[in-house]
Structure formats: C-alpha cells, structure tokens
Symmetry: C2
Subunit: 466 residues, 2 copies
C-alpha cells in the first residue's frame, strides 16, 4: 500500500557532507539501510529517508537536528522499527536518526523505584539489566520496542490494566528540540505541579515535536507472588463479559488478554503449545501469595458464570514465559498462516461496558468478509486488535480490509472510544483523529506543532496535515 | 504581602455593558464580590478583578471569553477560591469567571467507572452524589475544592500514593479556548494514543491556556474493606524512614500522612481529639479484608523497627471520618494557634529516598528560626508541607519566612525533586520553576502559551512572565 504522498524536501549535498565528516560510517546512504529505516510493521511500502545517522549521544542528536533545522530538512527518530502505523516513513524525505546505539542504562535508583535510560534501550534489555534490584518495568507492548519509541507512541500493552501506560510511567525526559537545543522535562519526584506537563506532551507526540534521547521511568517491586492462568470460554462474548465484570469489581488483575480461536490456532502452530482452539483469556495475577489466590478465586467464579472452564495454571516461571512468549509472537505466528500476506491490525479502545458490543459486531463483519483474521486484546483496558491477513497484490481485498478498519474505528467512536488505544496515529489514522477529537482540538495540536517546530522538520506529515 | 505588579488592562465600559445585558445580576462589580474573587488562601493581599461573572453553562463561559478576546481583557477562572499560590489574583485586571454554579453531575457511567461533571462540582459533592453507585472519586487535596480547580493545579493530596493525582484521573475535558471556541479533549476510553495529550496539557495549566468547564473522571469501586490507624514515633525521622520502606516494599497503602507534634497540638485544640502530641503517621488501607490485614501487619512491623508504637485503630466509618476531618482542618486549626497570623506553606516533593534528608534539614531550619511552624505531609509520595505562621505586619518575619521557603525549595531541587508537588506555581513559585525546569523548558511553555493564547488573556502573569 502506498503512503499518502507529500512533497519531499531534499537533503542539500553540503549538509550530507558535514554529516559524513562528523559521523563517518555512522552516516549511511546505503540503499538497504535507508530501506530498513523507511518502514516499520505497517501496511505501507517503505519510503526510505535520504540518509541514516547512527547517533551515540544526546549531543550527537542535537548536532544532526541543528544541521536539519538550518536547511529545513526533516528528521525522523528511529528505535527498533516496530511501529505499526507508518510513523517511520520518510514521506517528506530527510534524515533518519537511529537511536539504537543509545542503549545505556544511565542510572538506576532502586531506592526510589526509578531508572533513567537512553532512548534506544529496549524493554527486555531494561528488565534484564535491572533483574538484580528486585524491581521491574511492567509496560509491555509485545514487541521488544525501544523505550524511546514506546514513549513516542504512548505505548501500553499487556500490563497496562494494572500498571498504566507510558503516560503514567514516564517521570521525565531529555529532549532535543526542533532547533537542536537540549531540555529536560520532569524531575525524579513522583508528582509535580510545576508548570505545563511537557513530559506528557512529548509522550505520544510520535517524534513530531522533538527527539527524546533519555527517559526516566518508574519501576515496581517484583511481586511476591505471580501466577498465570488460561481460561477457555464457549464464545468470545462470554470471555469479554467476564472481563467487564473483573474490571467493574476492581480486581487488581495484572494482565487480562483475550485470544480468539484463530489466534490460538496460529500460536499453536508457531510455538507448539497444544492449546484448545477456543476463545481464551490469558491472565496474570500479582501480589502476595494470599492476594493472588484471592484474586484468582474471584475471577474464576466470574468466569464460571459465563460458562468459562476451570483455570489451567502456569505455575512455573518457565511455563509463564512460554505462554507470554507465544502471546507476543502471535503477530508473526499469524503472518505465517497466510504466506506472502500483509497484516492490517486495528487498535480501537472503548469504555469497558461497550467492549462486548465493539468486539461482537467486529467479529460479525470479519466473519462475513471471509478474509482471514484473528483477534488479540488487552481487554481489561477495553482495547483489542482485530487483524486481517490480506494479499497485498489483491487491490480489492486491501480496499475491503481498509473499509472494515474504518467501520471498526467508527464503531469505537460511536461507543465513546478512541481510534487508537496504543499504536498511535502515524499516517494511517490521520482522518480518524479528526473524527475523534474534532477540528478545534486538532487545530490546537497544529498550533502547538507550529509553535515548537516552526520549520516542520520533526517527523513531518504524521498525526495531522499541516 | 504584595503580589508582583503587572500593568492592568482595563475593562472597556462597552464590554461591561454587554456582560451586564447578558448576565444581569450575575455580572457583579460589587467591591465585596470582587475582593472575594481576587484572593485565595495565599499570603498575598487581594488583587480584585474588575468584574465577576457567574456562569451557568459552557456556552456562557464561551460568550464571556469571546468578549474578553475581542478586547484583550484578562479572564480568570474561579472555583471555590482554595488556591494557595496566588492563582486567582487579577494582577493584570480583567474578569473573574465564577464556575461555582456549574455544579451539575452531567453523567455517571458506573458500568465504566467514569463520571462527567461540570467544573464547579466539588469533590465532596461528587462523592455524596455518587454514593449509591458503590463507587468513589479518591483524589482529596484536603480543601473541598472544585474539580475544575483541582484539574487546573494538578491537585493530589492524601490518596495520591495509591490512586495517583488529577493527571492520572482525568480522562477528558471540555475547554473554552482563548478565542472562545469549545473543544473536547479525550474520550471515555481508559487509554488512547490519539494525538497530542491535550488533556494533560490543560491539567496543571492553572487557567493560563483556557477555561475547563467539564471534567470526565475515573471512579473506583469502594474497597470491600477500609481501615485507618495512627502510629506514633519517637522522631519525625523515624516516621519518615518507615514511610520510605513502605513505598520501597510496594505496599499498596491508600493514605500515608505525616503530622508533626505541632500539627497534632493544633488539631487537638481545634477538634478535641486528645491525640498524643508526637510525630504520627495517619494511614489508611484499602482492599479485601485479608488484604487490608496483611498490609497493616507489614507496615506495623516496619514501624516497630523504627521505634513506632502499636497501631491505634479507627475501626468505624465515624472514627475514620473524625480523624480525616481533623487532618483536613489542620490548616485552619493551625491558623488559630497564632491569632492574626498568615500562613505560608511550602509544597516540595522529592524522590522518596531523599525525604528524610529533606524533612530533617527543613525542621532544623524551622526550629532555629523560632517562628511557629507545623508539618503535614503526603509522605508516601515524598511530598510535605512545612508551614510557618507569620505576623503579616512584621516585615522582617515575613522576609525571613520567604527566605526559609526559598531554602526549602532549593533543597528539594538539589535532591532531584520539584518546587511544587501539588499547589502549583501561581505567582509565588515563578522563579523556582525556572530553576527547576531550566530556561529552555520554560521557553517552550511560553511558546505554547503564545500559540494557544496569542493575546495573553487567560489568567495572565501566572506560571511564568511572558
């Protein structure tokens, strides 16, 4: 699928020369490198940047941005490339700033439950490196994304129902602004009323306001007890209605994930799990031994009322890891179900009481379409992904999938939800942001963008047209 | 104390005429009304607005703002007047928009744990009106503030250690922008990645970017069990070190409040409580019966290690209400300890591991000053208030208190904390915001302000000088 077209702004040769002078081989114009940096996991064909600079420090990022600002050339921050909505495409040309070598843990303050990392650190790396502190960082969007990228899209994922999203877990940022200055937002205090919340403005800004180079995060004590269970249901609706009651009762469940039979079929084949191919909730409980037992008992009895089966427990860390790994690989597992296909994944989120309606109607549409699909959902948040496996060479099918996606988004908005729970707007959701927020609010976003990035060099062409 | 002086912009008589025509007696220029709207609970002498308009709907607010925009006249939103840092003073003249008659609960969605209220609804009114739903709104800054005002200062208070601050609990807003348009931010979904987080930009913006007229909030199921206890300690330091360990262990305590002996003396006298006049933690635990017992047991054993006494329990709702009422009235109770005095209350917040240092050094300074003071603190968040009772006619004493306040703020910044945990910047903390955030970040805030309020009419002269 082609991305919306914008006028590219060309990188002037003297600027490229200066970047090469400073960065040597870390400034690349090789086709393969550019191609890899001009895509993500979206449905769009790549739109490569003109150059890729591998930065190793905030100062280096600032130097690239100052060059870009001087020539009004776009810059696009790049973490690991797991974006789903076209954030990384160089639709107006320019330079990709690859942050993956900024992968140092700057400072762990275990006694304050905080950590500062460079933006290129991935969530798995972070949790590996802090394992000895007895703390962990819970936000887990599935992909092993960079923490800068997760902040940029306001990511969340499986643990958000208990621990919140990136919005709730970023304490402060180091940001390179559009004129190449370096600012700090936030402090290490857990709360503050000191002026505008610049941290929250950058979280979710998708690289359009500045480049985040360091992120200070909240950490959490590893729970005394963790247990994971799966529970099978006769219908998706039964699983969703159980979830609604879990949330309404205030059970502090740590993870509450829905997988439909199609998703399970895919992960069974990919990860040899041998799970029943029926709608399933994959749940995790965190707390004291007694607390976890109590939560599980409450949830089991709610599930029973909706025809849910007995919980099947993953009692060892290894068994849990196996289940979650399978869940996280469901995207790639599903892709393998239809060789050569591309996947388009919706990302709506609705108030919890409307979730059954949102999912049931979407499933009916999907079944009627006869296009292969599967569902996974962070259903405790009212967030689910219905993903179609489409043949990219079949224009009619692609158009049909896009129409189904629009229908799902419009349904979510009608149910007072949002067009994206966690993937961001990128290129793909721009028209729906307007539907959701209204022209006045989007005009305000544009005003902010113009004020902070007057030459429109920070990841231009994303979130809204200027 | 005089507020910093700004050039007042005068309300043109034709504008006043039109406001009177539309609002009749709801547009007041009576001295007493203006005086009441030109102050708060700050140390400053009143700076009355030129007129006060009592609005009853978003449309009415928009009409006033459109008039003000046409004449570049300041508007200052007013809830109940409980601001502590001079937010309400009409330092540049203009119109106060009183929102206290916008006090309708617009819509309760108990099934989604959300509620939408007009900005003038107070937190006590909200909890009274939703009592039958089995839900509650936890954020409790002490004062019975309006929810619009609480959003404007990013308020928090006693329950924040478990439930977060206004930042975490506002889902969406209706806002009248500086040109008198009405926008909506957010949806009723629990999370979203749709564009810039305008909700979080307005939360904490202290009326400088627009007037919030409706607020959509998260609600929580009333816990199955609630129990409150007090625990006395030999020293403030011992109470604080116990708190640090509670947080580091991840105990989900709902409230963890410090009162020093001076504060207890004041509340004893004001509320006839008969509490021991020694450093005390006032704690509340929420959860299941077993969960609450388990939390309390953990905390009791931590307290013991620091010389804490046995918990004294407030087992009935009445006993709990009595304790919390006393805590909430501590401000007024303390004022009565020195007739004719005015109170200056600091509001710093530091990373939890630095709290003992922050408090111990501040206490040493306070003791050396010989000026009456008292301490209360939302210590679970690393946030405390050291308040001086000063004689407003004694210029030397006022200057000394201000110097002590500066010292406390600088200490908090040195300890990687913030100059305000929950009271906001207002007029009083403007220089410290610059110290905390740095000139680059404050310049960015100014840019945003100019972009959203080009005529500088929204509560001008607050947070930063333009």
């Amino acid at each position: 699928m082609n991305a919306p077209s914008d006028l590219p702004r060309t990188l002037p040769p003297p600027m490229l020369d200066r970047l090469r002078q400073r960065f040597g081989e870390r400034c690349s114009t090789a086709a393969a490198v550019r191609e890899q940096h001009g895509r993500g996991e979206s449905v769009y064909d790549a739109r490569p940047p003109e150059a890729v600079v591998f930065c190793e420090s905030t100062d280096e990022v600032a130097a690239v941005v100052r060059e870009a600002a001087a020539h009004a050339v776009p810059v696009i921050p790049f973490g690991v490339g797991s974006s789903l909505e076209g954030h990384l495409l160089a639709v107006q040309g320019g330079v990709s700033i690859d942050l993956s070598r900024m992968n140092r843990i700057v400072r762990v303050n275990a006694e304050d439950l905080t950590v500062t990392v460079e933006a290129g650190v991935t969530r798995e790396q972070l949790n590996r490196e802090i394992k000895d502190t007895g703390l962990f960082f819970p936000i887990d969007p599935g992909a092993n994304a960079s923490l800068g990228g997760m902040a940029a899209t306001r990511a969340s994922g499986t643990n958000a129902v208990r621990y919140g999203t990136m919005k709730d877990n970023v304490l402060g940022l180091t940001v390179v602004t559009a004129d190449g200055e370096v600012i700090r937002t936030g402090t290490r205090a857990r709360k503050s009323s000191a002026g505008y919340d610049l941290t929250r403005l950058f979280v979710g800004s998708e690289g359009t306001l500045g480049v985040m180079t360091e992120v200070t995060l909240k950490l959490y004590p590893l729970p005394e007890a963790v247990s994971a269970a799966v529970c099978f249901f006769p219908t998706i609706d039964a699983a969703v209605r159980t979830t609604i009651e879990i949330i309404q009762l205030g059970v502090p469940i740590a993870r509450c994930e829905l997988l439909d039979a199609n998703a399970i079929r895919a992960v069974n084949r990919h990860s040899q799990l041998g799970l029943r191919e029926a709608p399933m909730l994959l749940m995790e409980f965190h707390g004291s031994e007694a607390g976890v037992a109590e939560q599980a008992e409450t949830v089991q009895s709610l599930a029973k009322e909706h025809g849910g089966a007995d919980f099947e427990w993953a009692r060892t860390p290894e068994a849990r890891t196996r289940l979650w790994k399978a869940r996280h690989e469901s995207y790639f597992a599903a892709l393998q179900m239809r060789p050569g296909c591309r996947c388009q994944s919706s990302d709506t989120c609705v108030p919890i009481s409307r979730l059954a309606e949102a999912i049931d109607e979407s499933v009916a549409d999907a079944e009627a379409s006869r296009i292969p699909y599967w569902i996974v959902g962070h259903v405790g948040d009212g967030n689910f992904h219905l993903s179609y496996l489409m043949d990219p060479s079949d224009a009619a099918e692609c158009a049909q999938v896009e129409a189904l996606n629009v229908q799902m988004v419009q349904r979510a908005l009608r149910l007072e939800g949002t067009c994206t729970g966690e993937h961001g707007i990128g290129l793909h959701k721009m028209p729906y942001l307007l539907d959701e927020a209204g022209p006045g609010a989007v005009a305000m976003m544009r005003n902010i963008k113009r004020a902070l990035d007057p030459h429109n060099i920070m990841n231009p062409g994303k979130i809204f047209a200027l």
